[in-house]
């Protein structure tokens, strides 16, 4: 039986496969943090967190938390050998200065131009931006992991974002629950899709034209515990 769509863990797994050995990586708060769990064996990425740690590891056991040792999501983390602490200006020098190889972020909407909306759903409530607007500029590669459509079935990949922008023309690859799509020259270029999904069906769930440029691979992921 083939999956109808990927779980979040499977999307994170797929994104993790593109992270090369020795890459410096920032994972956005929440869902993107899962990517760290699926690094292929033998590859060692170095994770960066905005609040001033390079090369942190997974959460400690409950009760063993050190609340001075947290990630940008305010969750307790551990250190790996070779870790470093630094202040916030240095941390964002790493971000803005182009020193990160990859940033993997969540999204409300991604436009075919590479525009990203992931910080605000509109003028209601308390606005909060954190490091999102910094991360989309500077990392050599900005990728998004996301459900292909919203909870009520609307496309998240769109011609033009209708929600407030996080950054302009910044995303270059989107890993969704249905496909892997590059953004190149202002177009969505389909790279991989689930085997059970026709191009027409995928296009129907996508808010802008999917272009084909070379072979479209099969989006294959292992079954993973939820």
């Amino acid at each position: 039986m083939t999956a109808e769509k990927l779980s979040n863990a499977q999307i994170a797994w797929r994104a993790a496969q593109d992270i090369v050995d020795g890459a410096y990586v920032n994972l956005g708060i929440g869902f993107p943090e899962m990517v760290a769990q699926y690094q292929p064996p033998g590859r060692q990425a170095i994770f960066h967190t905005e609040n001033g740690i390079l090369d942190f590891g997974p959460a400690p056991k409950p009760g063993a938390e050190d609340w001075d040792l947290i990630n940008a999501g305010k969750k307790a983390v551990t250190l790996k050998p070779g870790s470093a602490f630094f202040d916030h200006a240095t941390s964002f020098a790493m971000v803005r200065g182009g020193h990160l190889d990859v940033a993997i972020l969540g999204a409300y909407q991604v436009a075919q131009s590479g525009d990203l909306a992931n910080w605000s759903t509109g003028p209601k409530g308390v606005p909060a931006v954190g490091g999102a607007m910094d991360l989309v500029h500077g990392a050599k590669r900005v990728a998004v992991i996301t459900e292909h459509v919203t909870k009520d079935g609307k496309p998240k990949l769109v011609e033009r974002c209708t929600l407030p922008l996080t950054g302009v023309g910044c995303v270059t690859r989107v890993y969704t629950s249905l496909a892997v799509i590059d953004i190149d020259g202002g177009k969505f270029v389909l790279r991989e899709k689930l085997a059970n999904m026709t191009l027409d069906a995928l296009q129907a769930l996508t808010g802008a034209k999917l272009h084909i440029d070379g072979a479209v691979g099969e989006l294959k992921v292992p079954s993973l515990a939820a």
Binding site: T49, E50, N51, G52, I53, E65, D66, W67, D68, L69, I70, K74, F85, F86, D87, H88, A89, S91, F92, V95, R96, D115, S120, G125, V126, P127, A128, V129, G130, G131, A132, M133, D134, H137, G138, P164, L165, T166, G167, V168
Partner: protein
């Protein structure tokens, strides 16, 4: 020269109504809980506070807001596990918010400390947070002009401090501390351990004493996360 202050109350006694106050920490990590609580005890009104966040639960920065001391908050992420204090006041129009991207916030504070009145950043270009700000193109890419950020005071938590104000920080509690010491006219620092000059190796100093005006020793400082898990409230 001795920058040591005997008590928390003395340390914050210089902060008056309407002052601008940078408060170190990222969430609870590096939050100078004892200094904030001393400021609540003093009782001030109309503060402009700069912090990455907007407080959590009912202690520290959240308690300062709850006590009605804060008129305006400059921050990047006014959300937390329990943001009710800020959220209610904000939605009721009782507190002003200036939302700044986190890296821009850090760089604006550093610029304030480094005598750089303005700089250009790619961050926020083309977004709502760049509205009204000058834009310029360099080498074919567009950037937003941001201004320095300074304050009358900083409240910072450090690990070891000497009587000259040299500081080290614990783990990731460093975050905004070194920047806020630079950017404030009077940096007031609580240290877990106070030592004589020479007690910190010169290679290990993270904040040189020139950026620090007052040091107060607070052994075994509280951790915001622990207080919140215990359901603490201040006062």
């Amino acid at each position: 020269m001795n920058k040591t202050i005997a008590s928390l109350a003395d340390a914050v006694s210089v902060i008056g109504d309407g002052a601008s106050v940078m408060i170190g920490g990222f969430g609870g990590s590096g939050s100078p809980i004892e200094l904030i609580h001393a400021l609540i005890d003093k009782g001030v009104k109309g503060l402009t506070v700069v912090n990455n966040n907007a407080g959590n639960g009912h202690v520290g920065l959240a308690a300062l807001i709850e006590a009605g001391c804060v008129a305006k908050l400059i921050c990047s992420f006014p959300r937390s596990a329990d943001p009710v204090v800020f959220t209610e006041r904000y939605l009721a129009g009782k507190i002003e918010l200036e939302l700044v991207p986190q890296g821009t916030l850090a760089e604006r504070i550093r610029a304030g400390g480094a005598g750089i009145p303005a700089f250009y950043t790619p961050t926020s270009y083309g977004t709502d947070l760049a509205k009204g700000k000058p834009v310029a193109e360099f080498d074919g890419r567009s950037y937003v002009q941001e201004r320095w950020l300074k304050a009358d005071f900083a409240l910072v938590k450090a690990e070891i401090g000497d009587t000259h104000g040299n500081l080290t920080y614990r783990a990731a509690a460093r975050n905004f501390g070194p920047l806020m010491c630079m950017a404030s006219s009077t940096a007031i620092v609580q240290v877990s351990k106070l030592v004589e000059p020479g007690g910190i190796a010169p290679e290990s100093v993270i904040t040189p004493g020139i950026f620090v005006q007052k040091v107060v020793e607070v052994p075994n400082p509280a951790q915001e996360e622990d207080l919140n898990r215990a359901g603490a409230r201040y006062p």
